[in-house]
Subunit: 559 residues, 2 copies
């Protein structure tokens, strides 16, 4: 058996350069970098503002097939492609999301990429990093406290305590807080009511931070948050309880993108991390836009498979931020194709070309969907040691039939040297000017029709069903001026359908919309199709039980 | 009317030096400083360990009379004295506490010193600073989540859900969270039970961090936390739910002291901030000890007046950390003497020598108390513009009668130039070797007798009363091996008695102990004498309503 190094072992052996040197590669002067230790820094707002006149680099999206337990390696490929582009002489910047702290104490987790394609410092990125998520938690909960305080002192806004939709957040997996009663204990403590906590990444403040173009935009969006309703059903905004200014103050540093580096000392922005279900699941607009001013190429990713991640990246982030992706990479693995073809995880080690072929239509539909947005596509086959040549050939042949190319990538094992071919292909696609990117639907389309459009054109469902109350709610929001918002779909990431066990490329299924929510600050309507967990729990044996500092002061058990 | 600059205006005009230069003054190499921006840094653990063999500088405690609404300026004097000592050629380091974020959004607050005697950067210190409090919040709440998770998955430890004493924390003034029911919502969410949130500074994790000598000690103490009791009444420890290792990982950076600077570019460690009521109210042991290795003089302070602050500094922090204070400064103001003499706040502007004389016994008792610990004392009269020469002379005369000296200090207006005389006096006291410091009571004294000793010798009470259940609880803890712990008194800071309106130097009062709590990790027994608020609320018009970023990007309304 071969002895592989673990991701964390590789990360610890990284020859990191001082972050000021990494910044210098991008032309960021040292006084414009606010260091956090020697290997992390925030880029100053003044510097970002000074970039306004510059031309933009080319934006590359890395997306994937529907995730399977076999793993697809989307972040690994994003990081690897960034290194690969730098290797072939392009000034490239990686833009990925920050990790949530809470889940790391549940399941072994974390990591920003893997193998020889990682972003470092890994430990800090999986712990407090530069404190952005803590700032978001504080800002969110300040608003919560101000709502209850407003009611306590007389409720001038006539907030209906039964209709407060704004909850509290914590960056922790804590199921005990999902459903709670607060304000108990009598006169001094307030009016009892039922509410709960979500995990911080599910906060609308997180989505807002990731979609805001600057601090002024941030404050406006925070003020737009609908925190609940009055007895007369009119919405109560964050600005009605005067929390938007103080929340902005709490978020002023968190709004500045974080610069770190890959194992190959190339620059990476790691900033923001909204949930990919009830939010749009992409890194921050400000990081992406800053990277586009500094690099010739910006490689970024979006949460989950392309049905959720790429669609929301295109229809929410790109639409709202005015971004024009030049090309997209769809990450697939031979193993995941096999699982889509019906092979159990335990049997993935054996060659099974027929199963690979049977699973490929999942990939095929993602290719067609992304092309449908006018963005040229290349498939990256993220190589595993167990893949056979015949299996790889089967994927390549299938992809060729779809009018695209699949390239075998060995960045996990070899870093940038293993992904040169993909890098060249991405450059040729991007420089061809072939992208004719356009969102899937126009702003003016009615909200329910937007949901139907996504369900039919992206998921290949035959219909969308929703109770009258949901349709009425959507109409009420249209009447209130929210009809032009995009829709943020919340459904299982494991299938094109709403059934997580339905792999491959299903057609003719029904998409039931169970609930709709207004994120007026972030600027989208969430359509919830299935159970969405906004506060995870810890497993029976949480990884926290074994996480500790070892004698060398290294963190054990986190990875 | 004279136009004074506000503290924040002065702070913004500060000519800060790069924090690496400030560190260099103390001989800290740049690679041993982990910068947070250009004006804050953490000192690395390795560097701190490397100091082990060095001799210690002299430790100076700044304490005060009982606080009045007139203000006494304890932190201002601490910072001013640090600058003054540097001015007269002594290498001096200031050690103060970090500010809690939550209360800043309630009342106008914050500040680290005032006038020309401040520590900067002020805005960051009153917001997220280096993230220490967020780390403490995370570590505390991870334990909370692991307790409920343990019960959820079968409760192997047989934790009695009615007897869980470990709550959750948030760095926020949020009365709605004081008393809550968690785990609602059915089978998937757990077993409902009543609990609540405290503010982060009230967390035992905060007290532990401030009393731990290193990361190993920290983990041991975290493991020692009693989180509740089993059905058979035996204690359940943090380590029984295996949270201590992961909590230590979350706290590893927070354990490193934060270096900032005064307005005069002298070094200041700002680290830790335990509540001065249910905890001991001093900055961290690790910061104080590191400063003692680096400076000839270390000037530190303790929360509230000397009856609470100095007593706990001596009996908890110094006893447990093996610190030997060389001298103490008691801060008083003419205005506060007048208030103790019965003058209302509105009438403080008018000269009133008789009232000053009438109020001086409050100061006199603090002088005697501190001397009782064997520590030489000097009184600093923190000068206000409204003080008259006759009033100042009255204080000086009174203090001379007590066998001490009172020195008029104008550091608020003039910085170090205004406090030279005090600095010289402190040096002469410290270098005289007059200190014969010893704690008030021996470790072996029974717990209730420790409470009586403090109440009678420090507060001049005639008796301590407590229900049988409280006395029985203390005996039970003695039987369980906790009898050698010091006692952490929790009572009003406004009086020697438990009645906040009883100013001056009362005698013959009764101290009722309402409740006792075991902080087995921090290593003390809390005796609660009166109402102690561990989760504040916001006022009717919280300052958060006006806190905002102005057009220059500065924070308005926070100060």
């Amino acid at each position: 058996m071969m002895a592989f190094k673990t991701d964390i072992e590789i990360a610890r052996e990284a020859k990191k350069k001082p972050i000021l040197e990494i910044g210098a590669k991008l032309g960021i002067p040292s006084e414009s970098l606010l260091p956090y230790g020697h290997d992390k820094a925030k880029v100053s707002q003044e510097f970002i503002e000074s970039l306004a006149g510059r031309p933009d680099g080319k934006l590359i999206l890395v997306t994937a097939i529907n995730p399977t337990p076999a793993g697809e390696g989307k972040t690994t490929t994003t990081v690897g492609l960034g290194d690969g582009l730098n290797r072939i002489g392009k000034k490239a910047v990686v833009c990925i999301r920050e990790a949530s702290l809470g889940p790391n104490f549940g399941m072994k987790g974390g990591a920003a990429g893997g193998g020889m394609a990682q972003v470092v410092p890994m430990e800090e990125m999986n712990l407090h990093f530069t404190g952005d998520f803590h700032a978001i938690t504080s800002a969110h909960n300040l608003l919560s406290a101000m709502i209850d305080n407003h009611i306590y002192w007389g409720n001038e806004q006539d907030i209906d305590a039964r209709r407060i939709t704004w909850r509290r957040v914590m960056d922790m997996n804590d199921r005990a807080l999902r459903d709670i009663v607060v304000n108990l204990g009598g006169v001094a403590n307030g009016f009892p009511r039922q509410t709960g906590f979500d995990i911080t990444v599910a906060s609308e403040v997180m989505a807002i931070l990731c979609l805001s173009k600057d601090l002024t935009d941030l404050q406006t969006r925070l003020g737009n948050i609908v925190i609940g309703y009055r007895r007369d059903k009119t919405p109560v905004y964050c600005r009605d309880v005067k929390a938007d200014g103080a929340m902005t103050v709490l978020l002023k540093d968190a709004m500045q993108p974080n610069l770190v580096q890959t194992l190959e000392n190339n620059p990476a922005f790691v900033h923001g991390g909204p949930f990919a279900n009830i939010a749009h699941g992409c890194n921050s607009v400000i990081a992406t836009k800053t990277a586009l001013k500094l690099g010739e190429y910006v490689v970024t990713e979006a949460g989950f498979g392309a049905d959720l991640g790429a669609e929301k990246f295109f229809d929410i982030k790109c639409r709202k931020a005015g971004l024009k992706p030049a090309a997209a990479v769809i990450v697939a693995t031979v193993r995941a194709m096999k699982m889509n073809g019906g092979v159990a995880k335990a049997d993935l080690g054996a060659e099974n070309v027929a199963a690979v072929q049977k699973g490929c239509p999942n990939l095929g539909r993602h290719i067609a969907n992304v092309k449908g947005f006018g963005v040229p596509v290349v498939v990256a086959i993220n190589h595993f040691y167990s893949d056979t040549d015949a299996e790889v050939a089967a994927v390549k042949a299938y992809v060729a039939e779809q009018g695209a190319e699949a390239i075998l990538c060995k960045h996990w094992a070899n870093g940038s040297a293993g992904i040169e071919e993909l890098a060249h292909k991405v450059v040729s696609l991007a420089e061809s000017g072939a992208s004719t990117f356009a969102p899937l639907y126009p702003d003016e389309m009615p909200l329910f029709q937007k949901i139907e459009t996504i369900a039919k054109r992206i998921y290949h469902a035959s219909e969308v069903i929703a109770d009258k109350s949901i349709r009425d709610q959507l109409k009420a929001w249209e009447a209130a001026g929210y009809g032009n918002l995009p829709v943020c779909m919340a459904k299982t990431q494991y299938s094109f359908s709403t059934d997580p066990n339905l792999r491959g490329a299903p057609t003719g299924h029904t998409v039931p919309v169970r609930e709709v929510r207004l994120s007026a600050g972030a600027g989208f309507i969430v359509a919830i199709c299935g159970e969405i967990m906004t506060m995870p729990g810890l497993p029976k044996v949480p990884s926290a039980e074994v996480i500790r500092l070892n004698d060398q002061g290294f963190v054990e058990g986190l990875f």
